[in-house]
Amino acid sequence: MLGRRTLLLLLPLGLGLLAVIGWPLVQTVWLSFTDAQLGDATGNFVGLANYAHALRSHGFRHALQVTLTFSLSTVIIEMILGLLIGLLLDLPLRGRNILRGLLLIPWALPTVINAMAWRVIYNPDFGALNALLTQTGIIGAYRSWLGEPGVALTAIAAADIWKTFPFVALITLAGLQNVPRELKEAALIDGANAWGRFRAVILPAIITPLTIAAVLRIIDTIKVFDIIWIMTRGGPANATKSLSIMVYEQAFSFGNAGYGAAIALLSVAISVVLIGGYMRVSRAQPATA
């Protein structure tokens, strides 16, 4: 039970959170039930019409598909890559500390800088990727990586993975510091192979931080906006238009504040479902390990 003094001390924080998170959230929920236009606070109550319109709309379903594709592909690859690199950097390698420091660079870069750098790398006329792939004979001619619908989302996902897998690697490394050396040695003496040691000793120790990393990444990728906005603005032909881009377009470019709020809340609901599903799976994981 929290004492009265504790509650009193928590009160300012609670009030602050209510003011900066609670009230805007309530307003957004209310807005989503209206046909309010941007700059015109008074909208008519339209019930669930905005939600129904979104769920029926091809544009929303397409943006949802783009968002889920981006989210699942980047999170899965980042988790695997981050885990492998984290394990690698836990080995007693020469220059390990330098490598650990270098690993921080992509993660420390602002997303805007990362997106602009990758735009240059992908440039169809002088980009480094085209130069590398043509000079090594992998492709015959320079191509447009961000101008082709089938490729653009993959190209953006690659840029995002490059920036964010170090985060998972660092979380893995931090988790690995908690694995008792005696436990690893005991497993080795018992004759456990590398996979066995990983499954029985290491994974249970790092599963909790990895779950946290995955949840954070799912939240981040479901609301992805900046990297797409800078690299393609949702094009070509809407191939990279995520839910957040759709929310921005509807609410701010088209001025449909009510409809934009409904799509924003639907994307929050999708995040909650994905995170809930992941938490269930990951909670079951240690028991089976």
Binding site: D40, G147, P149, P236, A237, F252
Partner: protein, 416 residues
């Protein structure tokens, strides 16, 4: 009156005078401009410095954003208590801004001298339902730029005067192996693509809307324009990377000598023709008004002008208007012709402009100015344009036919 009373009175008067001076000295204008084509950021800062030297009581805070952010910044500033006093706006927004009361109606502020002095066509930029929402600035269209050296190498002696001739010449250049892709456009999913499409629609004598405001681009000249665009993608005369390009990409490709023909705004002229730091084709560039299509039109164009207006939330409307009239004045515009051709009738009579370095550009502009083809003046232009952008790209990327793409855009605009 006692000495103390005198002293108190003197102090009060002194404070009042100082307060008044302080208030005048504190007139701060917040301006929102575009960091892209036309007058550069450095130009606007120079113009503003000159203005504040003439008006030491005024300070102007300038903010520059990419064109793609300009609309949303203006709309979002409406609810702000410390918003902008002067904003640069595109020709396609006055209808929306008037409907949403974002810009002030400045009709009564426009003097007869300004009214009569500016090119008549330029007023369409800032006018909606007979009311004026600012002063025109950066009157512009898209023009056909060509590389004389590449044309000479291909044995082409005459500048093409129709779009079919442009394609014919592009094929000659391609077939002779001089360039893989002789044509370059800004066909990214952005307003830039709509401007190129508008030029071609005007060439094919199409229209965006019927007389009663329904979409009309899916038939006639509008459909012919998209058929033309798709055909040039298929026959390999258009650089396929055009679907990723904005105007600056077009300028870079053309200035690198990688295109024989390019459609772009007037700002490209001096950068490509005279600026050796920016261009490998200096001295080889030609520019003409965009051509027409035989039997349909003689020339083609798009009204790409912009205007300077005062948001309704401004508390410094008088000072803002004074600043706007300075920036749009003929002497100021005449001093920056390398970046934008002036909007004043008298400027086109000036031999310094017409026979100088900017002469070819000014002559092309003079031809276009009388018949700048407008994009639709509709309050929901952003949705209108977005629907067209998305569907035109589908056709350019070969996902659907031009007819199906434009029909889908029309259905989307109709709310189907």
């Amino acid at each position: 009156m006692s000495r103390t009373a005198w002293l108190a009175c003197t102090c009060l008067v002194g404070l009042a005078v100082a307060g008044a001076q302080h208030a005048r000295a504190n007139t701060v204008l917040h301006g929102l401009f575009m960091a892209q084509a036309g007058y550069s950021e450095a130009d606007v800062r120079k113009m503003t410095d000159a203005y504040t030297k003439l008006h030491p009581d005024v300070t102007v805070d300038l903010e520059f954003v990419p064109y793609e952010s300009l609309h949303d910044k203006i709309v979002l500033s409406k609810g702000s208590s410390h918003g902008y006093d002067v904003v640069l706006f595109d020709v396609i927004w006055p209808a929306e801004f008037a409907k949403k009361h974002i810009l002030m109606d400045v009709t009564s502020r426009v003097s007869p001298a300004i009214n009569d002095g500016l090119e008549p066509g330029s007023w369409t930029t800032v006018t909606y339902q007979d009311k004026r929402y600012g002063l025109p600035w950066l009157v512009d269209s898209k023009f056909l730029f060509y590389n004389k050296a590449i044309m000479a190498k291909a044995g082409i002696t005459e500048v093409p005067t129709t779009w079919p001739d442009v394609i014919k010449d592009a094929k000659i250049i391609k077939d002779k192996g001089i360039l893989q892709y002789p044509l370059v456009w800004s066909w990214s999913q952005a307003e830039a693509m709509i401007c190129d499409y508008t030029v071609l629609m005007s060439a094919y004598n199409g229209s965006f809307l019927t007389a009663d405001g329904a979409p009309a681009f899916q038939t006639g000249g509008g459909l012919d324009a998209l058929n033309f665009m798709v055909a040039t993608m298929k026959d390999g005369t258009t650089n396929p990377h055009s679907t990723e390009y904005l105007e600056e990409d077009v300028r870079r490709v053309f200035s690198a000598g990688q295109a024989a023909f390019a459609l772009n705004w007037s700002y490209m002229w001096s950068l490509a023709q005279y600026n050796a730091k920016e261009s490998k084709v200096t001295g080889q560039v030609g520019v003409e008004v965009s051509p027409g299509v035989p039997g349909r039109s003689k020339i083609s164009s798009v009204n790409g002008a912009m205007g300077l207006g005062i948001p309704t939330s401004s508390t410094n409307a008088d000072a803002a208007w004074d600043y706007i009239t300075y920036l749009t004045s003929q002497p100021v515009e005449d001093a920056y012709t390398a970046d934008a051709i002036p909007s004043w009738k008298a400027s086109f009579q000036d031999p310094k402009l017409m026979d100088g370095d900017e002469g070819p550009m000014a002559r092309a502009m003079e031809q276009a100015e009388g018949q700048l083809f407008p994009r639709p003046f509709v309050p929901n232009y952003q949705q209108f344009s977005a629907a067209l952008q998305q569907n035109i790209q589908q056709a350019l990327l070969g996902k659907v036919t031009p007819k199906a793409a434009l029909q889908a855009a029309a259905d989307s605009i109709n709310g189907d």
